[in-house]
Structures are given as structure tokens and as C-alpha cells.
């Protein structure tokens, strides 16, 4: 059977993807650094002080991109895991397991900066708001995926089992979000309103968008580096990895 000579299929093999990831990762890292510096400059120097929240609001330039990435990365992770489960493509499963730690870290950053923001704004480190609670549950889902994968010795079984829990989790994320939201409104009334004043200064918005791009680029760079490690570990008995080791 001959593989069609399309670049996408070519790079779905760990052997060809490994050098490509190695080439791309530094560029994404550099771009991430540039965008982060620019975004932070906007955030700290150009964006005006919020008349309600003072200077403390500036944490949104970290908080909001991290929260976006935490949710988005879970979907990407579950998507790659599902592709790996359906078509038995090794690299897809490796991508999923490479994304998980970055996603968990983004979730943690979102929770942590949220707590730091909450203290001056609401006077409490933590409130049982729908978004906070579902973000916490998202962290548990990430950890479950990673720990299940780590608990299974055979990497193929680990990939497939973790894929099942990732898909089940992805289906549950909206259910959990809405149940927590309804619980919150039915339970104690909206004591905290997270929706900011509708007129947001455009520099703030720009700063947030630039920082989001920086977080995207950072995630891609880190995932590429990590997937290279996963590839080497999994394919250590393959000839091309042995040759790679012999050359260096």
C-alpha cells in the first residue's frame, strides 16, 4: 500500500514530525516572547486605569488568556485523543498527552490569578461562582486524564483509555458548566456579577487579544517541544532514533 504523497500525511509519522517540530518550536517561542512583551507593555503602560477597579484589574491580561486557553486546550486535547482512538494514529495520541500538562497549567494560572483578582475586588480569595467552580472541575478533568495515562504501563492502552476519559470529559464540560451555573443561581442568588462594565476601553481589549495570541504561541511552542520528548521516549527502539542518538 502506498501512502499518498500529501504533506499532511507525511508529517503524521513521528519520524518526519520530530524534525519539523524541532524547527518550528523556536520560531513559535520567539513570536510568543515578542507578543508577550508587547501585550504586557500595553497592559501595564498604555491601558488606562479602570475607574471602578483601579490598577488591580490589570491581572486580566494574564487571567483571561489563561482561562481561554485552559478551555480551548482541553477541546484540542480531547480532539487529538479522539483522532488517535478512531484511526490508531500514534502521533495524535502523543499530541494529546503533550497538551495535557500545558492545559492543566493554564487552568491553574486562571484559578490562581482569579483568586488574586478576587481578593481586592470581592474581598474573598474564592467564591463559589459558576465560572470558578467549573474551572476547578476542569482542572480535575485534566488531572484525571494525566493520572490515568500515567497509571497504565502499556503506552497504547494508556493512550486509548485516556482518550475515552477525555471524550467523556469533553461531553461533560458543558453539562457541568450549566449545572454549576443553575446551582449557583438557584442556590444563593447572584452575589457576584462577573460581567464587567460593557464599555471596555479598546486599549484594554487590544492588550488582552495580544496577550491571548502570546499564550497561543507559547502553548504551541511548549507542546511541540514536549511532543518531541514523547516521540523520543516512545520510539526509542526505532532505528531512526538510534541513528539520531549515534550522530550526536
Amino acid at each position: 500500500m502506498t501512502m499518498p504523497d500529501i504533506r499532511w500525511y507525511k508529517f503524521s509519522s513521528p519520524q518526519t514530525f520530530y524534525p519539523l517540530a524541532g524547527t518550528l518550536a523556536p520560531w513559535f517561542a520567539i513570536a510568543a516572547a515578542v507578543f508577550a512583551v508587547y501585550g504586557l507593555y500595553i497592559g501595564f503602560f498604555l491601558a488606562p486605569t479602570d475607574f471602578q477597579q483601579g490598577e488591580a484589574y490589570r491581572i486580566i491580561f494574564i487571567h483571561v488568556p489563561a482561562a481561554w486557553m485552559s478551555m480551548f486546550l482541553y477541546l484540542v486535547m480531547a480532539g487529538w485523543a479522539a483522532v488517535g482512538l478512531a484511526w490508531n494514529t500514534r502521533l495524535s495520541s502523543m499530541m494529546a498527552i503533550a497538551i495535557a500538562p500545558t492545559g492543566a497549567m493554564m487552568t491553574f494560572i486562571a484559578l490562581w490569578t482569579g483568586a488574586l483578582w478576587g481578593k481586592p475586588m470581592w474581598g474573598a480569595w474564592w467564591v463559589w461562582d459558576a465560572r470558578l467552580t467549573s474551572e476547578l472541575i476542569l482542572l480535575f478533568l485534566y488531572l484525571g486524564f494525566m493520572f490515568l495515562h500515567a497509571a497504565i504501563e502499556d503506552p497504547r492502552r494508556a493512550d486509548r483509555a485516556a482518550a475515552v476519559i477525555a471524550i467523556v470529559g469533553a461531553i461533560n464540560v458543558p453539562i457541568i458548566y450549566f449545572s454549576v451555573k443553575w446551582w449557583n443561581t438557584l442556590h444563593q442568588g447572584a452575589s457576584v456579577n462577573l460581567t464587567r462594565s460593557s464599555t471596555m476601553a479598546s486599549t484594554m481589549l487590544w492588550g488582552m487579544l495580544i496577550m491571548s495570541i502570546a499564550f497561543w504561541l507559547y502553548s504551541i511552542a511548549v507542546v511541540l517541544v514536549r511532543v518531541r520528548c514523547v516521540i523520543l521516549e516512545r520510539e526509542r527502539n526505532a532505528d531512526w532514533v538510534k541513528q539520531l542518538g549515534a550522530r550526536t
Binding site: F140, L143, F147, L148, R157, S179
Partner: protein, 225 residues
């Protein structure tokens, strides 16, 4: 088609017979449930008003934990003696056999919890209407717990430290059931009516009834191959 139903019926009958011969296993999770619920007044004080507020949540959290504790038994014995492999190889669809096993599991672990829960509710000063709603919410909710738990039990089959991992996998997925289960009783106490909560619990049950056996069968195939 009757072949599938026959096979399901015989799986249920077999699992019930096994449970009857190991009554201690069934009793353990039930006693666990009672003990956990009884610990709360000792921990938080015996103020009747406080207990009435906390009662539904405490009973529901304890039911969640008791269901989860019993999950490890769902496939472990069949996995150890090779029965599970025969089920995977059987001509009947594995997901239907899994559904039958889950049903038997619920009958031996979930149903006893449901039956004894009103008694525990009395200890928390719940009134008659709240007890009735507690019963109804557990009746609708615990099958969902067994179905979702089956996925986790299949995924952690034969793993080291499977118990704690099972908790990490399954408990986050139990949260919606907990919210609407305990919420139903609280809504009754607040004279809001529990209809909406019970409807959502029913919807969750129907959704998992379709999806969970399929995912569990997939996870079992992964675990066994």
C-alpha cells in the same frame, strides 16, 4: 433480538445470585453510607436547623461516595476469572451485556441506598415531603451514578492504585447529579417545587443510559485486549 434480552436477563440473574451469596459485600457499602451520614452531626453539631439545611447535601454526598466505593467490584471479579473475556467474545453486543451488569450492580448497591435514605433523612429532621423528594431524587440519580461509574471502573480495570484513580476520574463527572439531586430536596424545603430538578435528573439518566454502556464497552475492550 430475543437472544440479546435473554443474555441480559441471565447476566442480571447471575450477578444477583452472586451478590446474594456474598451478602457481606453488599452490606459493606450500605453500612459505609450509614456511617458517613452519621458522622456529620458529630462533626458539625446537633443543631436541628443546621442539620435540616445540610441534610440533603450530606445524604447525597455520602451516596456518591458509597456508589463510587462499590464500583471497583463491578468488573474486577469477572476480569479475574475470565468471565469478562467470554462476554467480550459473546455474539451479543458487549454494551448491552454491560448495561445488564450495571443494572444488577445498581440493584445490589444503589437500590439499598435509596431505600434506607429516608431513615437517615429523619435523623436530619427532614419533613415528610422532603423525605419523599429525597427518595425520588436518589431513585432517579443513583442509576446515573452506576452508569457513569461503569466507565471509570472499566478504565481502571486491573491497575495499581485503581481505587484512588477511580475517584479522581468519576467524582468530577458525578457533580451534575449531585447538584440536581441535593438541589431537588432543597428546592422543596424552600417551597419552590422540585419538578425542574427531577426532570433534569431524569434527562441525565436517559442521556447516560444511551451513552455510558457504549463508552464502558469501549473501555472494557481497551482494558482486555
Amino acid at each position: 433480538m430475543s437472544g440479546v434480552l435473554d443474555a441480559m436477563a441471565s447476566v442480571i440473574a447471575r450477578d444477583l445470585r452472586i451478590a446474594m451469596r456474598r451478602r457481606a459485600d453488599v452490606m459493606t457499602s450500605l453500612i459505609f453510607f450509614v456511617i458517613v451520614v452519621s458522622l456529620f452531626p458529630l462533626g458539625i453539631g446537633a443543631d436541628p436547623v443546621l442539620l435540616r439545611t445540610l441534610g440533603p447535601g450530606v445524604v447525597w454526598v455520602a451516596a456518591l461516595l458509597a456508589c463510587m466505593l462499590a464500583l471497583a467490584r463491578l468488573f474486577a471479579n469477572d476480569h479475574a476469572d475470565g468471565t469478562l473475556e467470554q462476554m467480550v467474545l459473546a455474539p451479543q453486543p458487549l454494551s448491552m451485556l454491560v448495561l445488564a451488569k450495571t443494572a444488577a450492580h445498581w440493584l445490589t448497591t444503589g437500590l439499598p441506598l435509596v431505600i434506607i435514605a429516608p431513615l437517615l433523612g429523619l435523623q436530619f429532621n427532614l419533613d415528610a415531603e422532603a423525605l419523599l423528594i429525597l427518595l425520588a431524587s436518589l431513585l432517579l440519580g443513583t442509576p446515573t451514578l452506576s452508569l457513569i461509574g461503569g466507565i471509570g471502573a472499566a478504565l481502571t480495570l486491573g491497575l495499581r492504585g485503581g481505587g484512588a484513580l477511580l475517584a479522581l476520574l468519576v467524582l468530577p463527572l458525578y457533580i451534575p447529579v449531585l447538584i440536581f439531586g441535593a438541589g431537588a430536596v432543597e428546592a422543596t424545603a424552600a417551597a419552590l417545587g422540585a419538578g425542574a430538578h427531577l426532570s433534569i435528573l431524569g434527562a441525565l439518566l436517559l442521556g447516560t443510559l444511551v451513552f455510558a454502556p457504549w463508552a464502558t464497552a469501549l473501555a472494557l475492550r481497551i482494558a482486555i485486549e
